[in-house]
Symmetry: C2
Subunit: 149 residues, 2 copies
């Protein structure tokens, strides 16, 4: 496989391990998603039966290297905005109890070259605020609500 | 003034109020800074004698609408990276005790048009991690360490 899951104690491998701890659900709200290792971890969870939902930005989902098409092809539910502004969040919620958020877009460029931060928070007050935002966006971006004129 | 401080109970006015609560120091680590209202709040703190330090991204600081030149002109200390990767953080630390961080770049586009998040955290564990990162970057981007060959 050209993109093995990362090993060792890098920031990326720690992020992947947090994601792989999911047992029931993984809610992803990601402006940009081009990192193949992270996409592979998400696919693995989907195959294990974890319920994966992904919200992303319409303008970035089609860019070169985007993993969104691959994830959709694997059967993962993806929804996107239909606005000119960006869906600029970059967070994940594992099992509705662990929030992973920060400045990091899930791109190879960001992981390899940028100065970034990722917070892992289990405090219910913060998790709930982001879970509520996720559910709002998930409903708002329901394809049943799209308008094409 | 063309850019009054925001009033009312918007997300922007709440962010400005948090910043204006600074009494001793404001450490800013911002990928992109073009929002005039936020720049005005930072200048106000500087004039009040609060110690303001600003770290930013070299490639974005010169973009149209950037407030970095204006802040430097006002006498605020600014340092920037000299790498091809982005200094992609977007956080502020007020009085070394309150961390403000999230997906939000300090741009008018982000504030007006995007879906974004901003966390305000006073838990010392999180604040210290970001303060340590700020001090590392502040030293690393010290102009005395620049190389020009």
């Amino acid at each position: 496989c050209p993109c093995p899951l990362p090993s060792g104690d890098t920031a990326l491998s720690r992020l992947v391990r947090r994601l792989l701890s999911a047992r029931r659900s993984l809610d992803l709200c990601l402006f940009s998603f081009s990192c193949p290792q992270l996409a592979r971890a998400v696919q693995l969870l989907h195959r294990r039966g974890v319920r994966v939902r992904l919200v992303t930005d319409a303008q970035y989902m089609g860019l070169h290297g985007s993993q969104i098409g691959r994830l959709r092809h694997a059967g993962i539910q993806v929804r996107h905005d239909q606005h000119s502004g960006y869906m600029h969040h970059k967070f994940a919620i594992v099992d509705r109890r662990m929030l992973i958020t920060g400045s990091l877009n899930w791109t190879t460029q960001a992981i390899q070259s940028n100065r970034e931060n990722v917070l892992v928070v289990e405090d219910a007050v913060y998790v709930k605020a982001f879970q509520d935002e996720f559910e709002r966006i998930w409903e708002e971006y329901n394809p049943a609500n799209y308008s094409f004129f």
